[in-house]
Structures are given as structure tokens and as C-alpha cells.
């Protein structure tokens, strides 16, 4: 086994393992921390896919941003962290069925499909400049729209969160 493969599996295990903790853990704080590792693992996967910029973005935004958000809200919504940090589950059986079907179906499809793989490695060494150019040319409109959405989300989030509780 090459080192490449070993590291690949290492990241895969981290990702899937943490995901399992996220999904099955009853302690919400633990789940949140596990999610952190899951994101980290995915970032590693991106590196395997030669997507350096995405990987970094993943780290910055998910690990640095979204996680913090989640943790904050966990703390804000739990009366006391210790007591009510555990949460229950509902409709377990149908959920298992459905997710298993979907997961199985997906894996099956991925497996049987004969992908036309391009064996060559992409020439691009660093993706960031290319992505930047594409964002400002081909994807200019979505880019602008996305920026507007971010702005709206920012304002909207602030608006919603600060609304006083009506008695």
C-alpha cells in the first residue's frame, strides 16, 4: 500500500467516524465537536482531490466559522449545558430505512457506473488564480448574487436573532 492510499483511508476514517459520532451521539456538545473533526476530514479529502483552495476555504469557513456559530447556539439554547445537553431521537425506524435506501442506492449507482475518468492530472498547480478569474468572468452573475445573498443573510440573521420575545 502506498502512503497515498494510507493517508486517504486515514482521512476517510476520520470523516466517517466523526460523522457517526455526530449522528449517533446523544450529547449535543460532543456531536458538535465531532462535526468539527468531520469537517476537518473532508478538508483533507479535498486536498486529495487537488483542490487546495477549497480545502483552505473549508477549514476557514466550516471549521472556523460555522462551527463557532453552532457551538454558540448550542450554549445559548441549553438551559444548563450539563443537564439538557442530551437530546432524544424520533421516528428512528423509518429514518433508518430511508437513509439506508438512499445511501445504498447512491453507493450502488456509484459502483456500477462506468465513469469516463480522465487519467491525466490537471495541469493547474494552484487553483486559486484560475478560480478567481472564473468567478469574475463566467460566474460573475452568480458571484454577485451570492454576495448579495450573504449580505441579506447577514442582515436577516441579525434582524431575526435580535427580535424581542413577545409576551
Amino acid at each position: 500500500m502506498e502512503l497515498y492510499t494510507i493517508i486517504f483511508y486515514f482521512f476517510t476514517v476520520i470523516t466517517l467516524g466523526s460523522t457517526c459520532i455526530v449522528v449517533f451521539s446523544r450529547n449535543i456538545v460532543r456531536a458538535a465537536f465531532a462535526l468539527l473533526f468531520a469537517f476537518f476530514g473532508v478538508a483533507g479529502i479535498y486536498i486529495f482531490l487537488l483542490a487546495d483552495f477549497i480545502a483552505v476555504t473549508q477549514l476557514l469557513i466550516y471549521v472556523g466559522g460555522i462551527m463557532v456559530l453552532i457551538l454558540f447556539s448550542v450554549m445559548l439554547t441549553s438551559h444548563q449545558i450539563n443537564v439538557d445537553a442530551k437530546t432524544g431521537v424520533i421516528q428512528t425506524l423509518p429514518a433508518i430505512l430511508i437513509s439506508a435506501c438512499i445511501g445504498g442506492g447512491l453507493v450502488w449507482v456509484f459502483w456500477i457506473t462506468d465513469w469516463k475518468v480522465n487519467s491525466q492530472l490537471p495541469i493547474v498547480e494552484t487553483t486559486a488564480p484560475k478560480i478567481g478569474e472564473m468567478l469574475l468572468t463566467k460566474y460573475l452573475l452568480p458571484f454577485e448574487v451570492a454576495s448579495v445573498i450573504l449580505l441579506v443573510a447577514l442582515i436577516g440573521a441579525a434582524m431575526i436573532a435580535r427580535r424581542e420575545k413577545k409576551v
Binding site: V23, A31, F48, Y62, I70, V89, I102, W111, L150
Partner: protein, 110 residues
């Protein structure tokens, strides 16, 4: 069997796809089962990550252009926005209903 071993030894496109598929189904499961809204949100994030892996993987192995990357970035952007909004909503719900358990919030029924 040899095929399987061979397959496992040479990570390629399919590996990533399967990984993303698993991640996706875990995410779905979390969304469907957890009572806590924040946990639901975590599930959503997992689903989005799964999709992202797919995009990047196809971009790497099939097209060799970077369009997939760009889309992934958009997804990340949207995820961030969605997380912010969702968490704000959750906080708001919490203030109104004093709970974040989704199953208790069944106003839709009335």
C-alpha cells in the same frame, strides 16, 4: 475478491463518490431523526459537504476544469449563509417556544 482488494488499494473517483454517498446518508439520517434543531442543522451541513465532495471529485477526475471548484465555493457560501440564518431562527424559536426540539414545534398541524 481480488477485484475488491485491487479496488481498495487504488483510490480513485469511485472512492470519493462512495465516501460522499455515505456522508450524505448519514446527514439525511441526522436530519430525520434528531429532535434538537441544532442537530438537524448539523445534518444539513453534512449533506452539503457530501455534495461538495462530489463536485470536486468530478472536477478532478472527469472534466479537469475548475467549474466544480467554483460551484463548491458557492455551496460553501450558501452553507455559511444558511447556517447563520438557521441559527438565528433557532434562537428566535427558542425565545418564542422556549425549546429547540423540533417535534414539539408542530404548529403546522393546526
Amino acid at each position: 475478491m481480488q477485484d475488491l482488494i485491487n479496488f481498495l488499494q487504488h483510490p480513485g473517483l469511485t472512492h470519493f463518490l462512495i465516501l460522499s454517498g455515505l456522508l450524505f446518508s448519514f446527514g439525511i439520517f441526522a436530519i430525520l431523526t434528531r429532535r434538537n434543531a441544532i442537530m438537524v442543522l448539523m445534518g444539513v451541513e453534512l449533506v452539503l459537504n457530501a455534495a461538495n465532495i462530489n463536485f470536486v471529485a468530478f472536477s478532478r477526475y472527469v472534466t479537469t476544469s475548475l467549474d466544480g471548484h467554483v460551484v463548491a465555493i458557492f455551496v460553501i457560501i450558501l452553507a455559511a449563509a444558511e447556517a447563520a440564518i438557521a441559527l438565528a431562527i433557532i434562537l428566535n424559536i427558542y425565545q418564542n417556544f422556549n425549546t429547540v426540539n423540533v417535534d414539539e414545534i408542530n404548529k403546522l398541524k393546526d
